[in-house]
Symmetry: C2
DNA sequence: AAGCTGAGTATGGAATTTGAACTCAGCGCG
DNA sequence: CGCGCTGAGTTCAAATTCCATACTCAGCTT
């Protein structure tokens, strides 16, 4: 068998794995809605940003809406869809890894906190029976479903 | 200020955000150690795989070791480091999103389970006081530490 | 009517990616 | 000892993608 492994990680990355995609999503989830602002905050070139936004909209991760600020003409803004919001754990996990391993002398630049209690939020691995797994994934087992004892 | 946002997501993606990097890591975490096998399972071109492996090693995510299978000469194999294992939550989060939103008719191709109890494992958002957040990140608040949005 | 601004398009050169071919080392066989 | 095989890359040209800069277009404000 020399076909690459069938895997949801690969499928997800085909959609959000291109450069800038996750940063665009980060901005939108932070509440930044407009093309120019997203461009400024991410640093993505405009042409690429156009492509990415289109792709994220097509994938059902963002939604493009018209709106009309006072004294301006109709603009477009990008909102997260439910599917887009469900990528939060990916962003939080990436962020906490970066915080741990790549933070500069000033420490993490952004803190994610629980709106209700102010506590720092982390992505944890938990099994359906409520057992917590360590952050390094020890105790985790991958079970392919189309290989082996078929 | 027109500099892009300082953010650990961006920093992490600078290291693991290139094409193939996370798939290579997935393989290594699944126990695939050798160049040719990683190449087969991911589908990455050899030249790119060489680059990515080197970069992951440089970043302290993988470690390259020599070993000697019976009847063969010395080979190299790639092992995850602790920092590499700490990316598990990222992979699990990506996988669960793909499972939910991109699974084909056969359902998810791989299942992550808790070695001790067999229960399905998920990446959850939890605050330090033990409060669980919903998977779509509602109740999550980002607090920048050096930038004001207005 | 002209100017300004947000949201893109157009464009051409630089950087990456790709697949296919090539290299190199060393073990097992004869 | 020389030969072929295999794993782990390296080289190379073509295709793709990325990037910076310049250009367009709509419509509100003056």
């Amino acid at each position: 068998m020399d076909t690459p492994r069938a895997c949801s990680v690969a499928r997800s990355l085909e959609i959000v794995g291109e450069r800038w995609s996750l940063l665009v999503l980060r901005e939108v989830l932070l509440g930044v809605r407009r093309f120019a602002d997203i461009q400024r905050h991410t640093g993505a070139p405009r042409a690429v940003l156009t492509q990415r936004l289109r792709r994220l909209v097509d994938a059902g991760i963002l939604e493009r809406r018209d709106y009309r600020p006072d004294g301006e003409r109709t603009r477009q803004e990008y909102h997260p869809t439910p599917a887009g919001r469900e990528l939060q754990p990916v962003l939080v996990a990436l962020m906490q890894w970066g915080d741990r391993h790549l933070a500069g002398p000033d420490g993490p630049p952004v803190r994610m906190e629980h709106h209700d209690c102010g506590g720092a939020v982390h992505a944890h691995l938990v099994c359906e029976h409520g057992h917590a797994l360590p952050g390094d994934g020890r105790g985790l087992r991958a079970v392919p479903r189309d290989v082996g004892a078929g």
